[in-house]
Symmetry: C2
Subunit: 90 residues, 2 copies
Amino acid sequence: MGIQNTLKALSDPIRREILNLLKSGRMAAGDIASHFPVTDASISRHLSVLKEADLIRDTREGKFIFYDINTSVLEEVMLWISDLKGENGK
Amino acid sequence: MGIQNTLKALSDPIRREILNLLKSGRMAAGDIASHFPVTDASISRHLSVLKEADLIRDTREGKFIFYDINTSVLEEVMLWISDLKGENGK
DNA sequence: ACTATAATTAACAATTAGGTTAAATGTTAA
DNA sequence: TTAACATTTAACCTAATTGTTAATTATAGT
């Protein structure tokens, strides 16, 4: 965990786009995958990276696994950036 | 340029620590390098990645090359995150 | 039990990233 | 111009990342 995992996860454009998709609501893995020109397997690994970083959460419902965005870990990134900009303790 | 370069640059812990060092003021490349357990050449490449992302600026002064942090490009990251969190248009 | 569907995991290939050492570049001073 | 210093660039190696296809796991319906 930590900012390292978060930033690593965010450094890939497909993973950022996945988060963008999930912004509008939960989605099943296959539905997510259909938005990208790569295989389901590839997307599945991207999802596991995002999950490892706690940027998404998964829930199985029958045959489907639904993914939800979890933006709370992004707070740490915001704080890190703010600190870098010297916007803390002011 | 763009958010891709920025996030890629931020995804490495040495590069983040370099930015942290520069927060307190400009530093020569060698001075920066002395803070890390890797070679000067390795730090030099990290510096070029940060420069490519426009997160730092360099100025030669005699034998030395000084590096300054440039936080303005971080604004884009902040906005991207805010947007993801649905904090826009509110 | 069998089949179809949804998704992940495994095994492998190709690319990218980060480290090293050695050579090259730029600058200063003798 | 030669030597010394600061830094970068080149060449190379290894490890990590990303993609593919094929196999596996999990669930639902017949």
